[in-house]
Structures are given as structure tokens and as C-alpha cells.
Symmetry: C2
Subunit: 245 residues, 2 copies
């Protein structure tokens, strides 16, 4: 490993931050690192709203299902998939934006994720902690109203950045042999790998919670995907002009 | 800037590689760095198929619309959104996978992008060049058949990794002021920013092609989103169990 892969492999989410704010120069450096990520056909379908207003931060913390670090982190950003800007460019050239394509939704969402992950790595390289906030998708319409997001823009996730005031363990991952395959998809070993990983996860939770949480990965997956996930998302996205066709 | 943000900000796609292969240890380090990225509720909805077979590589290069570096790069990977593995875990616990949710499609696709971008940074930190291959989505059903992808798995993009045999310029991005906003979405300055960026992009193409390519960002956007993008994607995704509801 080198210093960069050590940094990447030491990632864990931080949910408790000191009061220290981030300088404007540091935020700019992080955002320029985000912009430098690959983007599909240079569409750059990303806008980032930095939320500074304390009441708005509190509101977003509640929308996210009660995550207080959304309000308390040194800085908080909402990463948006933005087809409004390229649509405007298209129209400036006399074109008609062929809106609503599922492919465009996918391209914009991936652009956002690549951009954000570069921001995360840049932030962590400066000793900051991070936490992605997918919970904003609990209330995507309300988030959109609060941030005045126009049509063809939707909030993909939030991101807390700040100086860490905790030092949690790295969460163990699935065995790599279950994830990296050669030439063709192989699922023969999934059950064995899940069984192995279940014990790893159970031990991780036991240690981290002093025995209070006793659960395996497959138990967590049953809770997570054994029921409907945010069933409002399809209609919300359609209302913003995404995934209509 | 520090060494990491310098690395991030020096990204450009590489489309010409030397013959040098990647060692198994290097690939493992890159993939472990990918696995370490954040994942929504630890669902780890990512599988990566490394394609070694020369005929399959050639076939994928053609599916991608004729991109020869898919066949010639030191290594080639297809990054797949994988809800098959968590579904299997859910069923091992007696649960029923609530399949087809748009939210799950989004979560899995973002998981893939975060994982892949960490792989990209890890690879570049070792001097490798990279190129994302969204063009696999020209023929997603054919790619899925070739790689024997099961239901609830789809190919998001490919990734070429290899030692660079070219040294292209970094492509300039949109002014940051157009991308990073404070508290609320602001589109007042979009037109000015697009006009400024149009000239930057025109100059970049002129320089890079010795005057052969004379185009602006907004002209490129008109070509890109002024027509339907991969209209087969919605039906393809549905056939794999994604975005049904």
C-alpha cells in the first residue's frame, strides 16, 4: 500500500464533529477536487448546495430522520443531480432538451457520486471526517422546496464534513472473493461468503456496542430490503423530470 | 493543495496504454480500496467482473461503440450494480426481497460509482491511467449475456486500467461558481458561466486537435441531450428487475 490507498482503506463515517469550521480555501480545494472527477461526455451534471443557515440545517437534520450531525458538522452540502444547466446550454444553441430519459437520470446520478467521492477523499486527506446522508431522500420534495431546486434537478444525498470528535473502527467488508469475479458472474460461493461475513459483522457490532447490538449482515439485509425502500422516490423523480421514459 | 488533492485534480482519461499488465497484488490493493468506500446501509451492492478473455474484451470493445482500449488496456473491469447478493442474504433469513424499487436502483448505482471512484484514485496513485466506459450501456443486454449476469444485477460501466502511453491535458471544468451554491439553488449566473466556459472549451479542443475540432460546451450539450439518450435503458433495466416501481 501507499499513503493514498492507506487513506482510502481507513475510511469510516464520522458522526461527531468538533466546532471547528472549514476555511473557504479548504472548501474550494475540496470542491475543485470533486469537479476533477470523470464526468460522462463532460456533461458535469452536478450542483452542490452548501447549507449554512442554522435553521435550514436543523430542518434538513429532521428530514434525514433525525441525524443531528447534519446540523452540527463543520460544513454541510447537498449534492444534486443537475440536468438544468446542460439543458440551458442545449437551448442556448437552439436545441430541445430530450428530457426524462432514464439513461440521463443514471448519468447525472453517477456524475454526482464520482464528484462527491473525490470530495470525500480530498477532505479525508486533510484530516476531515465525512458522513454521507442518504436520509435526505426520506423527504426529497421537502428538501427540494427548501433549497429551491428547479425542474431537472434533484437532491441525491447530503454530505457532512468536519473535524472528527470520535475515532470509530473501520467497518469490515464482504470478502473480496465474493465481489471480484473473473470473466463471468459466479454466485456459487455467495452463501459461504455471506455466512463468513455474517460472523464478522456480528463480532464487529458486539465489540462496537459492548454487546448491545447482536446482528449479522444477512439479518440487516432482511430488515433493509425485505421491505419497500422509499416508495415515494419514483413519483418524486418523475415530478422533477427524471425517469419518465 | 496536498499530494492527494494534486493527484485528484490531475485526472484525465487515458485511452492509450503500454502492454504492461497489472500484478494480482496491485489489482487486489485497488479493489480493497474500492470496497472501503461508503456504501448505503452497508448493502455493498457492487460486483466487479474482471474480463481477461481476449475475445470477450474484443466483443466488449465493439459493444462500447468501437473503443479499442477496452481490449488493449492492462486490465478491464465491468462494474455491476448487484442486488442479487443482498437478496440472497435476505432470503437466507426467511425474508422476501421487495424488488424493483427505484430507490434500490439508485442506491446500488451510487454504491458502484463510489466504489469505482475509489478504485480510480487508488490506481492513479500508483501511476496508472484510467478510462470509464459508459459505452457498455449501448448494449447492456448483450454485455449481461456475455458476463452471465443474473437477475437483479446490471452492468453500470466499464473501467480500463493500465500504464499510460500518452499524456493528454487535463480537461477544464465549468467555473466553480456555477456549481457550488450557498443555501439555495441560483441559476441567474448560468448563462454567463456557460458563455465563459464555452470559450474555454473551444480553446481546449482547438489546442488539443491542432484546430481540427472547433466546438463549445453548449454545442456539445446540444448534440448530447438534444436527442434521446440510450432509449433502450428503461426497458433493459426493467428486464433485470430494476426501476419497476
Amino acid at each position: 500500500m501507499n499513503a493514498v490507498t492507506e487513506l482510502l482503506q481507513s475510511h469510516r463515517s464520522i458522526r461527531k464533529f468538533t466546532d471547528e469550521k472549514l476555511s473557504a480555501a479548504l472548501i474550494e480545494e475540496i470542491m475543485l477536487s470533486g469537479q476533477a472527477a470523470a464526468t460522462s461526455s463532460n456533461v458535469q451534471a452536478v450542483s452542490v448546495i452548501q447549507v449554512n443557515d442554522p435553521e435550514a440545517r436543523q430542518q434538513l437534520a429532521e428530514y434525514a430522520g433525525g441525524q443531528p450531525y447534519v446540523a452540527s458538522a463543520g460544513a454541510f452540502f447537498v449534492f444534486c443531480a443537475d440536468l438544468n444547466r446542460p439543458a440551458q446550454a442545449c437551448e442556448m444553441q437552439g436545441g430541445d432538451f430530450a428530457s426524462g430519459m432514464t439513461e440521463q437520470f443514471l448519468i447525472a446520478s453517477i456524475d454526482v457520486a464520482l464528484f462527491a467521492q473525490n470530495c470525500v477523499v480530498a477532505a479525508q486527506s486533510h484530516g476531515l471526517g465525512i458522513c454521507y446522508i442518504g436520509g435526505l431522500r426520506n423527504k426529497p420534495a421537502e428538501v427540494s422546496t427548501l433549497l429551491k431546486l428547479p425542474h431537472n434537478v434533484y437532491p441525491v444525498f447530503g454530505l457532512c464534513l468536519g473535524f472528527p470528535d470520535q475515532n470509530p473502527e473501520v467497518k469490515p467488508r464482504m470478502p473480496l472473493s465474493s465481489v471480484l469475479m473473473q470473466d463471468q458472474y459466479k454466485q456459487d460461493s455467495h452463501v459461504d461468503n455471506i455466512n463468513t461475513y455474517d460472523e464478522t459483522v456480528r463480532e464487529y457490532y458486539r465489540t462496537r456496542t459492548g454487546g448491545k447490538k447482536d446482528s449479522s449482515w444477512s439479518e440487516e439485509m432482511k430488515k433493509l430490503i425485505g421491505k419497500e425502500s422509499r416508495p415515494h422516490m419514483r413519483e418524486f423523480l418523475a415530478s422533477k423530470g427524471f425517469t419518465l421514459r
